[in-house]
């Protein structure tokens, strides 16, 4: 009797299998917007299932802000509260710039796991795979910004630019970070291992964020270093963000941030897409 039942079960499974295979019609390939949103949904679902990955946008900002405010505050500006007014915009820039590197690491993981190959054999507008996850990264950066500014406010940060100034500053950071992320997607596509990728990212980000005007006024630096700090994209962004938050921003400062962002995107986004399509 068991043989009979097993046979019937097997037949039922086969029937379902055949139906599910036969019933599929071929829909039109998705629009660029639809596929981008699908990849964004994937990134959101990943956050839901692996909430640990939010560590970098929640705990990092808190640690960084507390650490640098109380470490340097007394020495550099005489009081922590006074230093906070100078430091917070800069440290926000630095934190968000540093967490952009996880974009490259996520992409690198996809490549090593094989899902990358599946995406590349789909009839989709390929950049949507990257833009979708970058859009969710922008949400992550906003979260880091809100957390840091809220904590700063509790510690005595009082932006003279008001709410509009703060929102404008965050907008500048998001535009800049989105553009900066393309550098990491290029690295993520070239570098073989996650470890090597981390090392490269740190080697670029550490000097870039520290040798800037985030912590100190560049006028206190030797002139050769000052000239580097002045052209450092992180300084350019920090200056504009500081200005926006304290209500002293100039159009020129904002335009410089936008120019730097456009240049980074124009160079690294096409390289990313080319590498994504032609990856060995």
């Amino acid at each position: 009797m068991t043989g009979y039942i097993e046979q019937r079960e097997k037949e039922a499974t086969e029937l379902r299998l055949n139906e599910s295979i036969a019933s599929s019609e071929r829909p039109k390939p998705p629009s660029a917007v639809a596929s981008t949103l699908t990849f964004a949904t994937r990134a959101l679902l990943r956050i839901k299932h692996v909430p640990e990955q939010m560590f970098d946008v929640t705990v990092f900002p808190v640690i960084f802000l507390l650490m640098f405010t109380y470490l340097f505050g007394g020495a550099i500006a005489g009081s922590t509260e006074e230093y906070l007014q100078f430091l917070l915009p800069g440290i926000l820039v630095m934190t968000v710039a540093q967490i952009t590197m996880y974009t490259g690491i996520d992409l690198n993981n996809d490549i090593r796991k094989g899902i990358f190959d599946r995406f590349r054999t789909l009839p989709i507008w390929l950049p949507s795979a990257l833009i979708g996850s970058l859009l969710v990264d922008v949400v992550r950066y906003s979260m880091a910004s809100v957390i840091m500014i809220t904590l700063g406010f509790a510690l005595g940060f009082r932006p003279a630019g008001g709410l509009m100034g703060v929102l404008g500053a965050i907008a500048l950071i998001l535009v800049f970070s989105f553009s900066l992320s393309w550098i990491w997607t290029v690295c993520g596509l070239i570098v073989r291992s996650e470890k090597a990728l981390m090392m490269i990212s740190f080697m670029v980000l550490f000097p870039l964020t520290f040798v800037s005007n985030v912590f100190v006024d560049p006028r206190t630096l030797p002139s050769w270093l000052e000239s580097f700090v002045d052209v450092n994209p992180i300084s350019i962004l920090a200056t504009a963000v500081r200005g926006a938050m304290h209500g002293t921003v100039t159009a020129q400062q904002v335009i410089w941030v936008l120019i730097v962002s456009v240049i980074m995107t124009a160079i690294f986004a096409p390289i990313t897409v080319y590498l994504y399509r032609n990856k060995k």
């Binding site: 139906e19 599929s24 071929r26 679902l45 796991k113 094989g114 190959d117 789909l122 009839p123």
Partner: protein, 332 residues
Amino acid sequence: MVNASYQADATDWAIEAKGLVKVFGKHRAVDGVDLTVRKGTVYGFLGPNGAGKTTTIRVLATLLKPDGGSAEIFGHDLSKEGDEIRSRISLTGQYASIDEDLTGMENLVMMGRLMGYGRAAAKIRAAELLKAFGLQDAAKRQVKNYSGGMRRRIDIAASIVVTPELLFLDEPTAGLDPRSRNQVWDIIRALVGSGTTVLLTTQYLEEADQLADRIAVINQGKIIAEGTSSELKASVGTGTLSLQLAKAEERSRAAEILEDKLSVAVHLMPDSTSLTAQINDSFLVAEALSELAKNQIAVSDFSFGRPSLDEVFLTLTGHAATEEPQPEEGGS
């Protein structure tokens, strides 16, 4: 009309490749592969690790640009009509090509959306596939918690959210237990039944024998033999004598005796006690066996008949398909 099956016109081919070459540095991973695969059939790539099977598939699936040669997939040029080809094919790679952090359901809905389904249609399709693949109970579990067999099934399900015209399967049953392997085979047969062309790679000779209409034996980037499983076996010889000895240390002496009696080459199999020889004359076989008995060499198992694909591979390449010893089935 006699030979109609061999005089198919161009529209009958799913894949037509000529002289495909792919070079990595100095290593010619694919070295002049010619290939024609008829629509609606299963084509098997058989070969050991590193033979160039995966690279060939990746070239045909538009993932790698060939360094030489040309190919058409359903009449579309591989180098020029990538989008056209991508809308007809699907690839299930060697490693799970799905997001392991997402649930089975979420993965299939995502694939449905990326194939162009609306939100609701994608959900219905995902549920239907999960049920057909016996995964409805695991729908809400993250794929990283799936067993090997379930992972393979969800992987294949993701490849057929929209039933592709051509499906590439890279070692679909590697590392699966026999039950899961049979399930995957059933799925492949059902797909072919609905008209999908399947190109699969395998190192398992039995798998190629079971599923593939035609088989290409690949070694060092080259196709060294091609045909149906019976043709391949026939090309090696119509009869094969397989012997397993009770004692490994007697094998070289047994080989000498057999070569002397049968006057054909005797191959030593990867395990230490088996040997095979291509021979057609059953009387000679009987004589050879009694000669072994006279010399006090005990035979624990023997068979005489058409060669297995293992033996085909051994004869064609001079080395075995797999490194591990293949336990022989008794008296087959």
